[in-house]
Assembly symmetry: C2
Homo-oligomer: 392 residues x 2
């Protein structure tokens, strides 16, 4: 059960999704929470993202309104007005300033928000707000997600024990019609504004920005962090041991949810952590890791549980990073596959690693001391099925 002191959650069905499934969800903080956000880098930004980027500048947020089923993306000025209207509707119901509401939308690109349905559902949405309403919230923001995604951890900083929770959704970077990665980090710790932005930046870099399902980037991606200070701890500042402990825990909880998104990647059967070591710079390591994590040939080999090291080496070679191809080491978990580019793999052992639902691939290019990683899914028949809407 996820409870974060001072936060309430809820979700209801507004009638956009079929069969009475929940499609409108709300986070409410009893007091305006200090807040920071990161948003999609896609230049085609959906109106709720444009509005959220503007509103987060105040550094405060008291409510997050999420609708699933319609992305309100590529809807222009009318779409922006729709986001403003729906967040005003919920602000009125909550009795707070509309500028403290940040909206997110996820679903079909090109469709307008169902304002009437949303407005009708809002009194119930607000009435159902509960301390233990975050499972409903996690359910209400799903689109093609097979399961709701959340993680929570309590830690003591000084003498106060606080809570850090992450609730997210996503099953493809962009799903066919159902889209977007969303994640909300909620905590009752009291955190300085600049510290909060820094935690968010660092956390997203090493969690949500490391996951690859299909390599596409949504028009609606949003990650928010809200700290309501309800715990009454002495403010966590931008550095020091308390900051480090806080950031470390936020990253841990966010990583749990990020891995869930890969595990639930459209059609995915594998979660592979691809680690690149021995690069001159972290950027170089990242380039190779991302090339491997998006290579169709690598991802289909994972699906086939095929220890096809040739594809890994060939994909690394086209990443645009210089290294000596005669000196690399490659591991599947701790089983050595290549030693100074010589094959030392035991076929059966290598295969038994790839048969697991979760494994690590480690490539050492031995040109420096930097490393990076991505967490990637495989590409399967089911992926093609989900995304082709195959019409026979």
């Amino acid at each position: 059960m996820i409870k974060i002191p001072g936060f309430l959650g809820s979700a209801v069905s507004s009638g956009v999704k079929k069969k009475g499934k929940k499609d409108l969800a709300l986070i409410y903080s009893e007091v305006p929470a200090k807040a920071a956000g990161v948003f999609t880098t896609n230049i085609v930004k959906a109106p709720p993202v444009i509005l959220g980027m503007d509103r987060i500048k105040s550094g405060f947020c008291q409510a997050v309104l999420v609708n699933s089923g319609v992305a309100n993306a590529f809807t222009g000025k009318l779409g922006l007005k729709d986001s403003i209207v729906s967040s005003k509707d919920v602000a009125d119901q909550l009795g707070i300033a509309e500028s403290l509401v940040i909206p997110s939308s996820t679903g079909v690109i090109g469709g307008r928000l169902p304002l009437d349905k949303m407005k009708k559902a809002m009194p119930k949405l607000v009435k159902e707000l509960r301390e233990d309403g975050f499972l409903d919230f996690a359910d209400g923001i799903k689109t093609t997600d097979a399961f709701p995604k959340y993680a929570v951890k309590q830690i003591s900083i000084g003498k106060k024990k606080g809570t850090i929770a992450v609730i997210g959704k996503g099953a493809g970077m962009i799903a066919p019609n159902m889209a977007t990665m969303l994640a909300y980090i909620l905590t009752d710790f009291n955190v300085e504004k600049r510290a909060l932005s820094k935690v968010l930046r660092n956390t997203v870099k090493d969690s949500f920005n490391k996951i690859i399902v299909d390599g596409d980037t949504s028009t609606n991606d949003t990650v928010l962090i809200l700290a309501n200070g309800k715990l009454g701890n002495s403010t966590i500042k931008e550095s020091g041991a308390e900051y480090k402990k806080f950031e470390k825990t936020v990253l841990e909880v966010a990583t749990e949810v990020a891995e869930m998104i890969v595990q639930d990647g459209e059609g995915a059967t594998k979660v592979a952590k691809i680690i690149v070591k021995g690069a001159r710079t972290e950027k170089d390591a990242d380039k190779i890791a991302r090339t491997l994590g998006t290579s169709l040939l690598v991802k289909t080999a994972f699906f086939g549980e095929d220890p096809n090291w040739g594809r890994i080496v060939a994909a690394a070679g086209r990443a645009g990073v210089n290294f000596n191809p005669n000196k690399i080491d490659l591991f599947f978990d701790d089983h050595k596959v290549l030693s100074n580019s010589k094959k030392v793999m035991d076929e059966k052992k290598a295969q038994s690693v790839l048969k697991k639902p979760k494994f690590e691939v480690t490539l050492n290019i031995k040109t420096g001391k930097s490393s990076s990683f991505v967490i990637a899914s495989d590409i399967t028949f089911e992926y093609v099925k989900i995304n082709s809407h195959y019409r026979t």
Copy 2:
């Protein structure tokens, strides 16, 4: 029937491929031909590529030896020695200098060349050289290719009528175990060395470098042009009307073969020409076109014959090129889908375009006057099947 005066071709079975399929192929020019080559940009270069890059520096080539089934990639110094030995074997049989032989290999990464089998097969390979042996050659260089790929055209430059032929192979940029794009451009025109390099560079840029099956780049990709001058025309120089006519025709013939490679892309059912117009620079247009041509969501939508313009717009937005997302036009063939980012698509008409095996997608971002394109396949169940070696 492909005949190019002064060139002979052949192919035989050396026993590497099963069922007596041809796996060793040879091009021979009666005289040393002026030659130029372009090779894979992958830093993991197979030994035959390393050897070819060195030998082409002389500007001459008299024989091309291709083996299919084993890529001789990632085989280090021993692999380089193998390429040298096998090209010396064929040079001895032909009675020419070994430096005039350029080898290509395509097939499994990591395996050594079957030198003994190749040596045994060489007398027959040389004996079978014929003016009409290029269908055999096209067949002998296949790996996962479903059909042999070649195109030929005759043109008159001045009073002389010459021949330009292109023979190629490839079905995935890198296929799982069977790899590589290879293409050989043969002509009896007499062409100056620098002009030949320029023609090759320009041609590859607008033909073979525009095709996208899976976005991977092989360790063995090679395109060679050989001009043996047998026609006796006055030398084609680096500029002027004759040069232009020659280059135009080479590009036409190469484009035919490049499109065949996409058509035969692993599991492909569609050949989509994706054109991006109205960019500030050709590089910007190219970036967007490549992002669309490699986007899994765009490629699976093509497979599903789904006029999912949202995915196209979203993929364009993450290409790293600035444009106004409220001002774009989009066409499927000549059917307008978006006009200044407003949907004007007729669902049925749009779908009827995507039902065709070959169609154009044109995106106008209206920020400048430059354009570019790619030719891309779709991603299908069959693609996943071929590349996952699905083990049930």
